[in-house]
Symmetry: C2
DNA sequence: CCTTGTGAAGCTGTTCACAGCC
DNA sequence: GGCTGTGAACAGCTTCACAAGG
């Protein structure tokens, strides 16, 4: 037995790699639950999530002991405990800055709200977009960024602006209280230590695939 | 000195973690070049890319020895060699399947073509979308998938369909010759060993940020 | 003298294999 | 008997610190 989520509420470190997989497990469990499955073992769940069963068990062991030896896991029970661990029991208000093609697509994305991510404010610098509605949300002027972020106490924001504006927008978001940023702009943004940034680089993903394709074709040379 | 890209063309293994950062370095170099910088050292370039200078140097050492001790790197020279290493000297034809909000945004994304990724074909299952033009490209019926993929010898494809169609589309793509898939659908897709998949999960990225936000707020409890 | 390129050390993450428990 | 939970072995990645070399 382990220390995990101690009775007094003090929790210990879950490895980053594990944290990144917990939402995947949760999604896999939801899929099982939707298909009427009430119990599963680590092999099934791992297959659904696309990982090795040993890794799944090790990951879950960082949260606590929510399975039954010789039997497996109760889908609903495990679902609840993972959801709890990753903060899925509460909703998070988010803002999206830059309502171009990508920002607009993100605004429409149904996967956010089903995961507890509530879009609370959209911003754009283009006066022809300000005042329009996208996916049912009013697009605010970026001039009102600080005011609206503060008023709604938003701490998670998505940057979908052109590269040359990302740093400046990040600085303003942080000054208004944002402490987590998802960055789609293809530049590294500099932030203070207390702010976390995750970057998603769409072109880079394709370049990584292309690298391996190239290696493959070199073999036939 | 090292074995690296041997004279006979046989290359050796570059670590995956390095491959994933090479496009970032290339982008950083392009930014420097655009601002008129001709020479840089590992500290500058690493700062631009958001990594530790030692890691940058170690990464580059897997490609060869393209710097000058006591001086630094020639921007254009290094740019060329990284571009060469990741296959950026040729263009890659890609297909996008699922032209909803996300697929449409990806079709418009300028960052692809500037990185050598040429959109060659768009597909959708919705008859009201088939035949329309998105970002200058005709949307084909998914019925013609195999035919068009084969005709254009496309090996890299992007799946932006709903989750429940992703596996079936992947199977069809692979049967038509695709060997690299970028998957935006929130499910793990099963593929043969010779096919590589990279998954981008937008909601998961926000959930990871939320996890750390939650940890933070627990401290004040 | 300055910065690269790189062994070696240290760290993190993954897999194995089996003890523990139902 | 069978599956979980986990120590121990392993593999890969990052950082350090310095020798090599312009």
């Amino acid at each position: 037995m382990n220390d995990h989520t101690s009775p007094d509420g003090s929790t210990n470190r879950v490895p980053d790699a594990t944290v990144a997989r917990l939402p995947v497990y949760l999604r896999a469990l939801t899929a099982l639950a939707d298909s009427g499955t009430q119990r599963c073992d680590s092999t099934q769940l791992a297959a659904e999530a696309g990982v090795n069963p040993a890794m799944l068990r090790k990951d879950l062991s960082h949260l606590g002991s929510y399975g039954t030896r010789g039997v497996g896991y109760d889908v609903g029970y495990l679902q609840y405990h993972i959801a709890r661990a990753i903060g899925q029991t509460q909703d998070w208000n988010i803002a999206i800055i830059g309502i171009g093609n990508l920002g607009s697509a993100l605004s429409h994305y149904a996967g956010f709200s089903s995961r507890g991510m509530k879009i609370k404010a959209l911003f754009d610098a283009d006066p022809t977009r300000v005042g329009t509605k996208v996916a049912g949300h009013l697009v605010h002027s970026v001039d009102d960024l600080e005011k609206i972020i503060r008023k709604n106490a938003i701490v998670i924001a998505v940057i979908a602006t052109p590269a040359d504006q990302a740093q400046q927008i990040a600085d303003r978001l942080i000054s208004a209280g944002v402490t987590s940023i998802l960055d789609f702009a293809p530049v590294h943004i500099r932030v203070p230590d207390h702010v976390q940034v995750r970057r998603v680089d769409l072109a880079t993903e394709l370049q990584i695939l292309a690298y391996h394709e190239q290696k493959r074709s070199e073999l036939s040379a």
